[in-house]
């Protein structure tokens, strides 16, 4: 999550869910937490019952809003205006936490004199190459004074930037020039003041469609509940990320939390609520094209990555923790290529594929739609209904030569060739499809990484039925077959595959918890894989205790350095550790949190520069002068014995470049970045842009939408012009508690289907009356990409907004339906478009324009047969008296 990475150092939730109950004020924005994460929401409810103020700022009055002390409706996609307004309020009214901001952020740092702010340039920064949709760093000069304008490790636009190198940036001088008085016009603090000067309360109200009072009350509540004695937390989810300005929205939240001094402190921080069981894990150990495990950059042709030496020279960040990159990279290569990875051959660096273009999901599927892709492996994902512009995705699937679908049920992405709104003709679709039934998580061992970076192991309970197999089994067996197919090859290009270490077979038949033996042949031993991820010494094959033990000389192997320490010794799988500590609220022995089991990141900031707690009430970590080390309830996210008094110089390198009062150890200057001299492609400071499709002009700047937003041209992916009178209504999508994503894990489940059996759209009584739409009746929603139908949920929860003096209607569209399953319905994602944030290629599903009318679009699909009961089989080995009451006798 670059929004967080650029500001603080690591792209992940900075705290843990349980800590929310320590907050004095929680702002939930861009998240429908009560519905999407009900169990995480329990801690918000606890905070509420402890007297904390809970606020929900959201376009849609959801079950979350109903639980809050305050609900503020806003127009979707105007979050930066709202947060910018809060930043302005904090600075204007001098409500910022002085000691904290001065010591822990780059507020005092002086920026290159050539820098020109969006303030002067009508909403863009200098160096914009409009046609190339990028900023030319050499001109832009966002960097600190005394630094080269173009930082060495900032990539070309084509590569998404999730790697630490990219996020952290690079400084020649870890102690940049500063003005502690904050008076210098080129110091970050002054630039910030100027940049947000125009984000006035009345403007915010005008843009967002809320009232000034509502806005001010939120701003004031945050200020009143921050400081030494109190802390506020911010919770967000894809309501923020799914925008062309997603990364900058999160950056803005970061600025608010830094100015209020809420980072790295109990009850504070930014809680990113992620949507999938292991979505954090799939970024840490990425099934992503631009990074290698542990946020190591994927070698790229646009950079000087010819040899390992060149690569490291360019990607290493010499000050701060990322100076260790060589150890992590070499250990990864050893983990992958084993013996074959030698000093002489750059540890097999040459075998690692280079990226020469943007291969992220959206462009990849666009290329697929253009017939440029032969094959697709689909692991538990459903682009035919769930991806932005699902219609275009369905077309793409039809252009494939072959498709492998691994899932539990016959989802849309497996049945698109004979079902769906386009009523496809199988005879015209060439795609060769393999449906390989998958094992459920109850039928396999493995670890998930949850939204708070916590690795938790799940044990295999039973064997999967029939042909069902784990994805691990599939990849492991496919790898074995491919190695066999290439066995004879002498070609250079095949050596990587042939040298790939690939022995994960169980040493003996796996025993299941009930004592019986597994009947699955060829299932890999997941703990062998975990050991490789954790790291081991090459010679003895001994588990390493943590990433501090990794070496760059090829003597250690490690599949993912940030997870190192999860399996420190044989028989001690810490992801599998399930001890709850009644004394310690962080429960250090429940699972394993990366990095190195730190539950709250940047927790050095919970103490003041001298290392004393900011207050007794908010005590968390502090410097124990007697013991000469950092102590507290958590593992310090800091060198445990580095005294607060330690000072770095411009000559210091590595961790020595991090002073004793610099809590953000990943950052090259050890400080959190209010102003991002590098790391974000679309500007150093969050700036309000309208969504790509918007019925409203940008009321702050001449620049309408993000000049860098990625647009993908295709007939099926047309966008409405800004303020197109054809599409005056703003649409946003969201999740319901009762369903999950596009439905693969909920619409085949009768117990969930009966709770929300039909696709519906929520609209205001006012709009319904205007368009003659009746509650419970059918309605059509259409825009440039598609027309879909839904039942109308006319409710007072939805209200029209007054934006720019005009009445504006928003409708809410749950995105859970599709054409496969027990309940079927139109797909919200047929309406969403392929446009993306320039930093990470995240699409903009949360804001688009459309129009509505009463009626239907026509023949809907037929649902699969409703199966009222999951099973009527009685529980085995169970007497009559103990059978479930629903089936008793």
């Amino acid at each position: 999550m670059p929004g967080l990475g650029t500001s603080f150092g690591r792209g992940a939730a900075t705290t843990f869910q349980e800590d929310l109950q320590n907050s004095d004020c929680i702002l939930i924005m861009g998240s429908n937490m009560a519905e999407a994460h009900p169990v995480g929401f329990r801690f918000v409810m606890k905070a509420r019952e402890n007297g904390a103020k809970i606020m929900h700022v959201d376009p849609h009055f959801s079950r979350t809003s109903a639980m809050c002390n305050e609900y503020v409706p806003i127009r979707t996609g105007t979050d930066i205006a709202f947060l910018g307004g809060i930043i302005h309020y904090i600075l204007e009214n001098d409500r910022w936490f002085k000691e904290y901001v001065l010591a822990y952020t780059n507020a005092a740092t002086i920026i290159n004199g050539d820098y020109t702010d969006a303030e002067e340039l009508g909403g863009v920064f200098n160096g914009l190459q409009r046609e190339e949709r990028r900023y030319d760093q050499k001109v832009a000069a966002w960097n600190y004074a005394g630094e080269p304008k173009q930082p060495k490790n900032q990539t070309d636009q084509a590569i998404k930037a999730q790697s630490f190198s990219e996020r952290l940036g690079h400084l020649e001088n870890p102690v940049p020039p500063q003005d502690p008085t904050l008076q210098d016009p080129m110091c970050v603090f002054q630039i910030l003041k100027r940049h947000y000067a125009r984000y006035l309360a009345e403007k915010v109200a005008e843009i967002c469609g809320c009232s000034q009072q509502q806005f001010l009350s939120v701003a004031e509540s945050l200020c009143a509940n921050s400081g030494r004695e109190r802390t506020s937390a911010i919770v967000y989810a894809v309501g923020w990320t799914q925008h062309t300005t997603g990364v900058q929205i999160i950056r803005a939240a970061g600025i608010v939390q830094l100015l209020l001094g809420n980072m790295g402190r109990p009850g504070g921080g930014i809680m990113a609520m992620r949507g999938h069981a292991s979505i954090q894990g799939s970024t840490d150990i990425p099934t992503l094209y631009d990074i290698l495990p542990g946020y190591i950059p994927q070698p790229a042709t646009m950079r000087d990555h010819g040899t390992l030496k060149d690569y490291l020279k360019q990607e290493e960040v010499s000050t701060g923790y990322w100076a260790n990159l060589p150890k992590f990279m070499v250990s990864l290569l050893k983990a992958w290529y084993g013996e074959a990875a030698k000093k002489e051959n750059d540890h097999g660096f040459g075998w690692v594929p280079r990226i020469d273009a943007n291969y992220s999901q959206l462009p990849a599927f666009l290329r697929m739609a253009q017939g440029k892709v032969k094959g697709l492996f689909l692991f538990g994902q459903n682009p035919a209904a769930g991806a932005p512009n699902a219609k275009l995705n369905r077309k793409a699937l039809m252009q494939l030569d072959w498709l492998v679908v691994r899932d539990w049920f016959e989802i849309e992405s497996a049945s698109f060739w004979y079902k769906g709104p386009e009523k496809p003709d199988p005879k015209a679709i060439k795609t060769e499809i393999f449906f390989l039934p998958a094992a459920s998580n109850a039928e396999k061992d493995g670890s998930f990484t949850n939204t708070q970076r916590l690795l938790q192991w799940h044990d295999k309970a039973v064997d999967p039925p029939g042909d069902c197999r784990s994805d691990a089994w599939f990849v492991f067996q496919l790898g074995k077959r491919l190695k066999k197919l290439y066995a004879e090859s002498q070609q250079k290009r095949d050596q990587g595959l042939l040298n790939l270490t690939w022995d994960y077979d169980h040493d003996r038949m796996q025993e299941l918890p009930d004592g019986s033996l597994s009947k699955i042949i060829g299932e890999p031993d997941m703990e062998k894989i975990l050991k490789e991820i954790n790291g081991y010494t090459v010679k003895e094959g001994k588990h390493v205790a943590g990433f501090s033990e990794l070496k760059d000389d090829g003597s250690t192997a490690c599949g993912c350095w940030i997870y190192s320490g999860v399996f420190p010794e044989p028989g001690r799988n810490r992801a599998r550790s399930r001890k709850r500590d009644a004394q310690n609220p962080t429960s250090p022995d429940w699972g394993f949190a990366w990095p190195h089991n730190r539950r709250m990141m940047y927790n050095r900031a919970s103490a003041d520069p001298e290392g004393k707690p900011w207050s007794e009430r908010k005590k968390y970590m502090w410097w124990d002068e007697a013991a000469k080390r950092w102590t507290g309830v958590d593992t310090p996210d800091f060198e445990p014995d580095k005294p607060p008094s330690y000072r770095a110089t411009n000559e210091s390198r590595g961790m020595d470049a991090i002073s004793g009062d610099a809590p953000f150890i990943m950052k090259p200057d050890g400080r959190a970045w209010l102003f991002a001299p590098m790391g974000t492609k679309d500007g150093p400071l969050p700036t309000h842009y309208e969504p790509m499709e918007s019925p409203v002009p940008n009321l702050l700047y001449p620049e309408q939408a993000s000049p860098l937003a990625e647009v993908f041209k295709d007939d099926l992916n047309q966008l409405a012009m800004a303020m197109d009178p054809e599409y005056p209504i703003v649409g946003t999508t969201y999740r319901l508690t009762e369903h999950y994503l596009s439905g693969p894990m909920s619409r085949f489940n009768s117990w969930l289907n009966e709770l929300q059996p039909e696709m519906f759209v929520e609209l205001s009584p006012e709009l319904a009356q205007q368009r003659g739409i009746t509650h419970g009746g059918w309605m059509v929603i259409w825009n440039k990409r598609a027309a879909i139908e839904a039942r109308a949920m006319v409710t007072g929860r939805v209200q029209s907004l007054t934006v720019n003096g005009r009445t504006l209607h928003q409708i809410g569209i749950p995105f859970h339906w599709g054409f496969a399953g027990e309940t079927v319905g139109s797909m919200a994602n047929d309406l969403t478009s392929m446009v993306a944030d320039p930093n990470v290629s995240m699409h903009e599903a949360k804001a688009f324009t459309c129009n509505v009318r009463a009626g239907r679009v026509g023949d809907a699909d037929v649902a699969d047969k409703f199966s009222a009961w999951p099973t009527r089989a009685k529980s085995p080995d169970t007497p009559e008296s103990d059978q479930p009451e629903g089936q008793a006798i």
């Binding site: 009584p765 509650h775 949920m793 006319v794 409710t795 007072g796």
Partner: protein, 324 residues
């Protein structure tokens, strides 16, 4: 609008529909005739066996004939017919249905014995001679008297069973039991009068029976008025609902008024009046049993029937509810 009306919750019924249908309506009708005729038969026998010979004989046959279909009807009504015997698993006066099950059991003996001995006396071919010779020795008066409590119970419990529920149309009143009892009695009297008219019985007996008929119908009328009045809003389904015609045309006009006007003047009119009374009684029981479903479906009505009063105070009273 997805908002709920203030008085109810989206007008969704508060109560579940009673499951009882035609089986129960028929059961209440028949067992009423059976117990009624039984009582009249025993009374007549005790008064004057010789003179009331025809009446006694008709009563004994009518009471057995009417009771025979009852067990099958009851069993058919169950969700688990094979478990009908579970009714006798406990003795539980708090449950009118359990009470009724025991009453029926206790009643079945005497009614069968009297009918048997009557058949024996009438040399009925239906019984093998040995059985007849045994039945000759049944102590008729004693048996008859022994069956009276059970017969009274059979007559009294059906209405009470219905009113011991939460269905407004049944439970707001205390006189539904009495109404059913009266209705049963008049139907029983009418059955006997029908038979005796048919068999051209002795006029004096018919005239006496006619008085009993009028008395019972009168009582039925009074009870019905009392029932409707004491039921308040609960009686809606019977007064304005689709069963109003059963009650007013069927029971009141057809079952009470007409017979009173036309009866007692010759065989044909006698038969007709008796038939009308029987039909009226059936219409009444059919209507009351089936109105239970409409009553349960009426959400607002059910809530209205559950508003606080001095004997049922509810729980809201304890705290003041401000707003909405």
């Amino acid at each position: 609008m997805a908002e709920s009306p203030t008085t109810t919750y989206y007008d969704i019924p508060l109560l579940k529909r009673p499951l009882w249908r035609w089986e129960i309506a028929w059961y209440f009708f028949l067992e009423g005739i059976s117990s009624g005729t039984y009582l009249l038969g025993v009374i007549a026998e005790l008064l004057d066996r010789e003179r009331n010979q025809e009446l006694v004989q008709a009563a004994r046959y009518a009471s057995i004939a009417a009771i025979l279909p009852c067990p099958p009807l009851l069993i058919a009504d169950l969700g688990r017919p094979e478990r009908f015997a579970h009714m006798l698993r406990v003795f539980k006066p708090s449950s009118p249905m359990n009470f009724g099950a025991w009453a029926l059991t206790a009643y079945s003996g005497p009614v069968a014995l009297l009918a048997g001995s009557q058949m024996a006396a009438d040399k009925s071919r239906l019984l093998p001679s040995q059985v007849r010779s045994v039945l000759k020795h049944v102590p008729e008066r004693l048996t008859g008297v022994a069956g009276v409590p059970a017969a009274l119970a059979m007559m009294a419990y059906p209405g009470v069973l219905l009113s011991t529920t939460s269905i407004p149309v049944w439970s707001r009143t205390r006189v539904l039991g009495a109404l059913f009892a009266c209705s049963s009695f008049s139907a029983a009297a009418a059955v006997l009068s029908f038979v005796l008219h048919y068999r051209d019985a002795d006029d004096r007996l018919l005239r006496k029976l006619r008085k009993v008929e009028l008395l019972a119908s009168g009582a039925e009328g009074v009870a019905l008025a009392g029932y409707l009045l004491t039921s308040g809003g609960g009686a809606k389904p019977l007064i304005s609902g689709r069963y109003a015609k059963h009650v007013f045309i069927g029971a009141v006009v057809g079952g009470i008024l007409l017979p009173a006007l036309i009866g007692g003047k010759g065989k044909r009119r006698g038969l007709f009046a008796a038939a009308l009374t029987i039909a009226g009684s059936f219409a009444l029981k059919w209507a009351v049993v089936h109105a239970g479903r409409d009553s349960a479906d009426d959400a607002a009505g059910s809530h209205e029937a559950a508003l606080p009063n001095e004997s049922a105070t509810g729980w809201k009273s304890k705290y003041r509810v401000s707003g909405t």
